[in-house]
């Protein structure tokens, strides 16, 4: 773990404020940003841990807790909201049997909120891992979940 983090950080040495990019890379490699991981990042970047955690917990695409194999993120920004993202959310909650921030028992899905995914044209939208789905309906949701 330490070696992975060190290697990633070295790659960003020329950047002035590399924290966010580094956290993304580290998460890609190590799955999620645990306390242990963030402590190492703080140490090698010589930043206070409070700041590193503050940044990690600010961005919805960064996870500070262990997550299921697939992460379902529901867009909560205004355009999607207007087009019914809250119905999508209710649907997903009952489909998966979990609340926001939780993970299903079989560890298959975690449910999260996110801000605008940049595809407002096809609102309401969700993202599963790095795949975006738009124009959602209850039926479509079911089909999407089945793929995973």
């Amino acid at each position: 773990m330490e070696a992975v983090i060190k290697e990633i950080i070295v790659g960003y040495e020329s950047e002035k404020t590399p924290l966010i990019s580094i956290l993304h890379r580290v998460q890609d490699k190590l799955g999620y940003l645990s306390e242990e991981v963030l402590k190492l990042v703080a140490k090698y970047l010589d930043l206070p841990l409070s700041k590193v955690y503050g940044v990690a917990s600010f961005y919805t695409l960064l996870d500070t807790e262990e997550k299921g194999e697939n992460i379902v993120r529901v867009c909560e920004s205004a355009p999607c909201h207007v087009k019914g993202s809250m119905n999508v959310l209710t649907e997903l909650k009952s489909e998966l049997g979990i609340d926001i921030g939780e993970t299903t028992k079989d560890n298959k899905f975690s449910l999260e909120l996110t801000s605008c995914l940049g595809v407002c044209g096809v609102a309401p939208a969700i993202m599963v891992n790095d795949q975006v789905y738009g124009n959602l309906t209850a039926k479509k949701l079911e089909e999407i979940l089945e793929k995973y």
Binding site: E35, P48, L49, S50, K51, Y53, G54, F58
Partner: protein, 571 residues
């Protein structure tokens, strides 16, 4: 350049903000998140003013810089409505239980509501119920009351350099807390309480010991003694409307008797004793050649900070207990013997300007046979609250003197409560020991390249010693780093966790700010000047204590009772 505020033409210079120019002209603009030179991010939108003409619009007054011909309105109905709206949005997420809140009457949110004429919030916001952080004996964090102004964040990060508080999560879920929303006892917090002074509301407050003190006072089987720290006597008056820095010593003694304490003693006494022991330590390090710099150990916030962040300096810390703990140790040995009481029959209460002292009293190093030397610690604020509860008419009390024997002190002890005071007190004694002459004042000058650090050179019989004085943990860290890098060399450094020393401590009356801290410090120097004895070694009771009980300065018995050890803690 010329600017117009509310139609009044005013002179301004480039770089000034509208807030500054207005203030100078006697025009008040309300603020909440703004803390001069510390927190300048503008999250609360309370200080909005209207820019006339041109692009126009509303801007926060402390951000907006003046430009020639700028026209500002600070007081139109629209501006007032906008501020009120912003405040009501904050109030929508606030518990609003002012009746039972400790900050009632000195809460800035409450003050603003009055000032802006808020009559109830139009919005009922969703609220997240947060657990209180009651993990330390010093502080309680109540995130339910937090208005997310981030003033504590800037103070903990920048002035104190401890960096344990930060905004976590985002938007509605934002929580100002340590990493992973941990409690303060799980992180490297010094418990200095400076975040409490930064906080406009009751989201950070002391862990109150009042009930426990009443219980002890009502227990007929307990002999309850109280010690009062130097910095308390020049600040307690503020709780009753008196100017900061006004000495209230004798009324304070009477007031404590009225509360029912069996004996009212003075932490000044053990401050004198600290000087004797620490002076001796400096002399023997000078003889043995180190380790230098010797670091003072009377500020528990500073000690905890060194244990977390600079533990390679642990051997440099003076092994002397703080005056509070020397008092506790003596009260339960020397004094207990005089009164023919056992350790269990005495309760030692302290009144301190400090939140870290509450923690210090519970340190395992400060225990004997499984019980604490100092049982309960009240802050200046808590003592004032107790007095108000009992209806003691503080300002009209007639004064009285501290009890014997732990109540006699010199001026050297009074200045312990202000930055530079411990150094001056120690040098008065050490200088005289080595040169046979009296030290004529200590002239400190700003250290080159280290703002916030003052230093001096003192010629002793056959050597020159270099000393430094620093307050505020951010500044203290700078000196240690400079020493580590070999850029600075000192024999002796006085460090206090709180800016200005204990007069600015986390347990002092609200508000505590630079100006008030200065006045309190001056008050302590005035007390020093009014005393005939100003050198700790001239304290007659201290001399007696050494002869009759401690078997001489720096002796084994003295060492057992008055010295301590430190521990490494995680960063």
């Amino acid at each position: 350049m010329k600017v117009k505020i509310n139609g009044e033409e005013l002179e301004a210079t480039a770089g000034q903000t509208v807030l500054e120019v207005a203030k100078k002209a006697g025009i008040e603009i309300p603020t909440l998140c703004y803390l001069k030179d510390k927190n300048e991010i503008g999250v609360c939108r309370i200080c909005m003013v209207k820019v006339e003409g041109g692009g126009g619009g509303y801007e926060p007054a402390f951000v907006l810089q003046v430009s020639d011909g700028l026209e500002i309105e600070t007081n139109t109905p629209e501006v007032r409505e906008l501020r009120r709206l912003n405040l009501e949005l904050i109030l929508a997420n606030h518990p609003q239980d002012c009746l039972s809140c400790e900050r009632s009457l000195n809460c800035e949110l409450q003050g603003l509501s009055k000032e802006l004429g808020v009559d109830g919030s139009r919005f009922a916001g969703k609220r997240i119920e947060h657990q209180l952080d009651e993990s330390t004996p010093s502080l309680i964090r109540d995130p339910n009351k937090c208005v997310k102004c981030r003033r504590c964040v800037s103070v903990c990060n920048d002035s104190q350099g401890v960096k344990v508080l930060f905004p976590n999560n985002r938007g509605f879920e934002t929580l100002i807390a340590p990493f992973f929303n941990k409690d303060l006892d799980e992180v490297a917090c010094s418990l200095c309480g400076q975040c409490l002074h930064a906080c406009p509301v009751a989201a950070i407050k002391e862990n109150d010991a009042i009930d426990n003190v009443w219980e002890a006072l009502n227990d007929d089987n307990q002999h309850v003694v109280v010690q009062i720290a130097p910095a308390v006597r020049v600040s307690i008056g503020e709780e009753f409307g008196v100017e900061p820095g006004t000495p209230m010593t004798n009324k304070l003694v009477t007031a404590c008797r009225k509360l029912g304490f069996d004996k009212v003693f003075d932490t000044d006494f053990t401050a004198d004793l600290t000087i004797m022991e620490e002076g001796h330590e400096l002399l023997s390090r000078l003889k043995e050649g180190g380790p230098f710099p010797l670091l003072t150990s009377c500020s528990p916030g500073w000690i905890k900070y060194v244990e977390h962040f600079h533990n390679d300096f642990l051997p440099n810390l003076s092994s002397c207990k703080s005056p509070q703990q020397m008092f506790g140790a003596l009260a339960k040995s020397y004094y207990a013997d005089i009164e023919n009481l056992s350790r269990e029959e005495i309760t030692v209460v302290s009144v301190m300007p400090c939140t870290a002292k509450k923690f210090e009293a519970t340190r395992e190093e400060m225990m004997k046979d499984g019980s604490q030397d100092v049982d309960l610690v009240l802050t200046t604020r808590e003592l004032a609250r107790m007095l108000k509860m009992t209806g003691v008419d503080f300002l009209n009390l007639s004064g009285s003197d501290f009890d014997d024997p732990l109540g006699i002190s010199t001026g050297a002890a009074d200045i312990f409560g202000v930055t530079g005071g411990v150094m001056e007190a120690a040098l008065r004694t050490v200088y005289e020991k080595l040169t046979g002459e009296e030290l004529s004042g200590l002239r400190l000058t700003e250290a080159k390249g280290l703002t916030g650090v003052r230093e001096a050179k003192i010629e002793l019989s056959n050597q020159t010693i270099k000393v430094a004085v620093v307050s505020g943990l951010g500044n203290a860290s700078k000196v240690l780093e400079a020493v580590k890098r070999g850029e600075k060399e000192y024999h002796f450094i006085e460090a206090m966790a709180c800016p200005g020393g204990c007069v600015g401590g986390g347990g002092q009356p609200i508000p505590t700010n630079e100006e008030i801290v200065m006045k309190r410090g001056q008050g302590l120097y005035n007390i020093n000047n009014s005393k005939s004895l100003r050198k700790s070694h001239e304290n007659p009771v201290i001399q007696e204590l050494y002869e009759e009980y401690l078997e001489g300065v720096g002796n084994k018995k003295a060492h057992q009772l008055l010295h301590t050890t430190y521990q490494k803690r995680a960063k």
